[in-house]
Symmetry: C2
DNA sequence: GTTCATGCAAAAGGTTTGCAGTCAT
DNA sequence: ATGACTGCAAACCTTTTGCATGAAC
């Protein structure tokens, strides 16, 4: 089971993080970690609640909200924006940086990594003496599939 | 007065838009337009409320919220995200497209336009048969000034 | 005069907080 | 045993909606 091996690694990382921060490993946090791992890509708090229900978990929504920042702090999740007015998170653990193509018709999110753009970003930042820590690039439009439709 | 000349032009555009859409030119909409014009750059609904107070305007917050989408429809404002969890708007009327350098220390937003990046974006989109309608690029980090500070 | 816009109050939705009890360490 | 975590309920903040009044065309 390759996947569960990866999960074990994530679990280890998470437990270590908690220990280092003097935080505790609770059943709720374990369930959250599994839910996050299952969702993988991008999700809203609401998606996470649904996933928890699928796992027959009865944790309170409050607990989920209280723990999301901890996952961000542990570099497992990132709070992303994605041109939506609603909060979204994305799993970044063991993932390379990437940006997003977002179809405004069907909502599909395609990830890409285009080194040349990043190089130009650095060049631009240098002009402004700006030190880039991170960036978000979203290309919005219509995907191949949706262009077919009239 | 160069500025007020520009405002007159904006006012004309806005009135024309309203007429075309069968909407009405009310004192509230006029006050909103002035507030938006005064704020120019990026602002939150809250900033807009403050600006209206400065103008001694007593319009209800509800009216402001109801009208913001109209300004977007009129291509005067754009709803932007800017990595914040709060809603923000930006005046786009008579402005060229640009992206943002955002200082995570002092919050300063610097606008830039870098043609070469846009060209690469198109090249990338072509690879995915994706049709770009718009995009957002945010570079987050520390600005020149904040790098000086220890 | 007709239709659309405004203001009030109230609802709605998502998120946060105080507090008492519970559980990991 | 201690201090951190959870769940409940309630608060909170921003945004939206129903309805009656008022104003632009």
């Amino acid at each position: 089971m390759g996947v569960s091996k990866q999960y074990t690694k994530l679990l280890d990382t998470f437990c270590l993080f908690l220990k280092q921060k003097g935080k505790r490993f609770t059943p709720e946090r374990e369930a959250l970690l599994l839910a996050v791992f299952s969702l993988k890509g991008h999700f809203s708090p609401e998606d996470l609640i649904k996933q928890l229900h699928k796992q027959d978990n009865t944790m309170s929504v409050v607990t989920m909200y209280r723990n999301l920042p901890i996952f961000v702090e542990a570099n497992i999740l990132e709070r992303t924006c994605l041109s939506s007015k609603h909060t979204r998170y994305e799993m970044i653990w063991a993932k390379e940086h990437h940006d997003h193509l977002i179809c405004t018709d069907c909502g599909t999110i395609t990830e890409f990594n285009y080194e040349a753009i990043e190089i130009l970003q650095e060049a631009l930042a240098a002009q402004y003496c700006f030190n880039i820590e991170r960036h978000h690039l979203e290309l919005l439009g219509t995907c191949h599939t949706c262009q077919q439709r009239v």
